[in-house]
């Protein structure tokens, strides 16, 4: 290209090529800005994640150093400087097991109803109602559990359970209302929408061809559900249960309201108890900053974190291996709707529970 001898008044854009070069430069700068934003976002995200782990470890270090591995089985006696999580772990396991025992059969049964057995006109609204339960804040459920369920359990439910022959071992002691049992029931109510929603999705995902094959072989509707749909939805149901379990383990507020805050190992389902979550809620504020007790409570947080993260990640892996998160590169599916559909809100809401 020949050297320009144009007067300076002439805009450089009049010269062919320069405009494009400038535009390219701008795009490159913008591109670099975008890249910076992306990297910053990712870095910040990872930083928060790491900071969480590091900070908790740091704060819990004194207590962990003091107790060592015995934290997992020793009891909680701050006066004697014994800061073991044993009792709380038992409480967490008991309440979670109870919650699953109640929520899984009810949830899978309800999901079967919504996915297969109920007529379509009623299944939709009822599904929405059950899954709406997931939107209610846990403190509100705790409030209701405390004020409505506790007297109900103390007056009617627990005395009744004591009279059932054969269950005496599990249900002895004073019916106070606030108990491991009630905590388990409240947790079951809270995790039910998770079980129902994810099981329902798994069941509707079972191919129509499989269901028709069952019907053509003279299976009754229930046989199709039991032998074709539920096994076919097995992976999704297992994921649902795992996620529900993780949620039950991590729930602290609602449990704190109704578990009764007992110390020592619960000797029956009717006795007050404590879970990791409820213990943290009740002990953290009282502990003086910088004290060994405070560090001990943070150690409880770490134990809870370890258990529930392990369970939750397991459940998410079970769920994730179904859906690809990378956009499909295959041939166009010809759907013809350029704007993406928002994710199924009910499912997203439920999936968001920890």
């Amino acid at each position: 290209m020949t050297t320009l001898s144009a007067p300076p008044a002439v805009s450089s854009l009049a010269v062919p090529g320069v405009g494009e070069a400038l535009a390219r430069q701008r795009t490159k700068r913008r591109g670099r800005l975008y890249a910076l934003i992306r990297w910053a976002g990712a870095a910040l995200f990872v930083a928060v994640f790491l900071a969480l782990l590091v900070t908790l470890l740091q704060q819990a270090a004194p207590a962990l150093g003091h107790m060592g591995l015995s934290i997992l089985w020793r009891g909680w006696n701050p006066q004697k400087n014994e800061l073991g999580a044993g009792v709380f772990i038992v409480g967490t396991l008991l309440t979670t097991a109870l919650a699953l025992l109640l929520a899984v059969p009810v949830g899978v049964g309800a999901a079967a109803m919504f996915a297969e057995l109920a007529p379509r006109w009623i299944a939709g609204p009822l599904t929405a109602m059950v899954e709406f339960l997931a939107a209610i804040p846990s403190v509100v459920v705790g409030l209701w559990g405390l004020i409505v369920l506790t007297p109900l359990f103390a007056r009617d439910v627990e005395p009744f359970l004591k009279t059932v022959p054969g269950l005496d071992a599990a249900f002895h002691g004073e019916p106070l209302g606030s108990s491991i049992l009630l905590a388990g029931v409240v947790l079951a109510i809270m995790i039910l929408p998770t079980v129902v929603a994810l099981s329902r999705v798994a069941m509707t995902g079972v191919a129509l061809a499989d269901r028709e094959a069952g019907m053509a072989l003279a299976a009754t509707r229930w046989q199709v559900v039991r032998k074709v749909v539920i096994p076919g939805a097995g992976r999704g149901i297992r994921a649902a249960v795992t996620l529900a379990m993780g949620r039950a383990m991590g729930e602290a507020i609602a449990v704190a309201f109704v578990i009764g805050n007992g110390s020592g190992l619960p000797h029956s389902l009717l006795s007050p108890g404590a879970s990791l979550g409820s213990a943290i809620v009740s002990s953290f504020s009282e502990a003086l900053p910088g004290s060994l007790l405070k560090s001990g409570v943070v150690a409880l947080v770490l134990v809870l974190l370890a258990i529930s993260v392990a369970v939750n990640v397991g459940g998410q892996i079970l769920m994730r291996t179904r859906r690809p998160a990378v956009p499909p590169r295959g041939p166009a599916d010809g759907s013809g709707t350029p704007p993406a559909l928002p994710p199924d809100p009910g499912l997203v809401l439920v999936e968001m529970q920890p």
């Binding site: 061809a209 069952g214 053509a216 032998k227």
Partner: protein, 306 residues
């Protein structure tokens, strides 16, 4: 199918009574054996000349939400013969097929007219769909073995659904069905392998075995070869011909040549003037293809339409 005769047996003894008698015999008491009495064997006035009808359709129409999909289906399906339902897609062949085992109960299709399986009114008020389906089996277009079950469990799944628990009976029936479908030697050493590991053609034969195990009188086949390669197709066509000795086969196919190869009778479905599918002609296959009565049939089989 076999019949057991006993000279002093009263005719028309229900099968169930026979079973009860047999069980009593096992307990050591006397029993009588009676004739197996099933619709298609009822000694009718038709005599030995005309094959008895296994399924009779009279003026059957299928409607989806107010829109008629197919109408005017009146035909008799001869027992132990292969009847092909042919025609271009959308003419209602599959709808008619599914009407025969009441699958429309679940798809929202309304079936009018009457369908009789021998003596049994398929849509009668006292007839349960399970009863119909235990006597009328189905094989689908795309092979659909149950993905969570192994090969053997798939084959006997129908038996299990129908309440047969005896392990010995399941094993024998399963093996017999697999043999009939020419699969036994292929799978006998890996009966607990997941069914989905078989090839497409093998899966379809597995589905056929599964349908056969319940000992149906009729087997409905909805384009069973359309998802398969030519080699597998040929095997299944051979199988169909063999099977028809024991069961009545109703085969929906859009492939005229397949119909010509395999079927004894052919029913032609075409679109009427108002775009509604209807039965146009039915008769022995050779006749339908060589000397069709209806001009529309002629146009179809010579390739001018569809």
């Amino acid at each position: 199918m076999s019949m057991v005769h006993s000279s002093d047996a009263p005719p028309d003894r229900p099968l169930v009574d026979k079973l009860a008698a047999r069980l009593a015999a096992e307990a050591g008491t006397e029993h009588e054996l009676g004739n197996a009495s099933r619709g298609e064997e009822a000694p009718s006035a038709g005599g030995a000349a005309a094959p008895a009808a296994a399924v009779t359709l009279k003026d059957v129409a299928v409607t989806f939400g107010g829109q008629v999909a197919v109408r005017n289906a009146t035909l008799e399906l001869a027992a132990n013969k292969v009847t092909a339902l042919v025609g271009p897609s959308g003419c209602g062949k599959t709808s008619i097929l599914r009407a025969m085992n009441r699958l429309h109960d679940h798809t929202g299709g309304r079936v009018t007219g009457s369908i009789h399986l021998g003596d049994l009114d398929v849509y009668g008020p006292g007839t349960s769909p399970e009863l119909v389906r235990s006597r009328v089996g189905m094989v689908f277009q795309k092979p659909n073995p149950f993905p969570t079950m192994g090969i053997f469990d798939n084959v006997v799944s129908g038996l299990r659904f129908n309440g047969i628990r005896s392990k010995a009976l399941l094993a024998e029936a399963g093996e017999a069905a697999l043999r009939k479908a020419a699969l036994w030697d292929i799978v006998k050493d890996r009966l607990s392998d997941p069914a989905v590991r078989l090839s497409g053609g093998q899966q379809q034969r597995l589905c056929i075995a599964r349908a056969l195990a319940v000992e149906p009188e009729v087997i409905l086949m909805d384009e069973p070869c359309s998802a398969l390669d030519p080699v597998a197709t040929a095997k299944i066509e051979a199988l169909i011909t063999e099977l028809s000795a024991d069961v009545t086969v109703v085969l929906v196919t859009h492939n005229m040549f397949q119909a010509a190869r395999v079927s004894d009778f052919t029913a032609v479905f075409l679109l009427g003037d108002d775009r509604v599918g209807e039965l146009v002609e039915v008769g022995p296959t050779a006749t339908v293809f060589a000397e069709p009565r209806d001009p529309r049939t002629k146009a179809y089989v010579t390739g001018h339409i569809g």
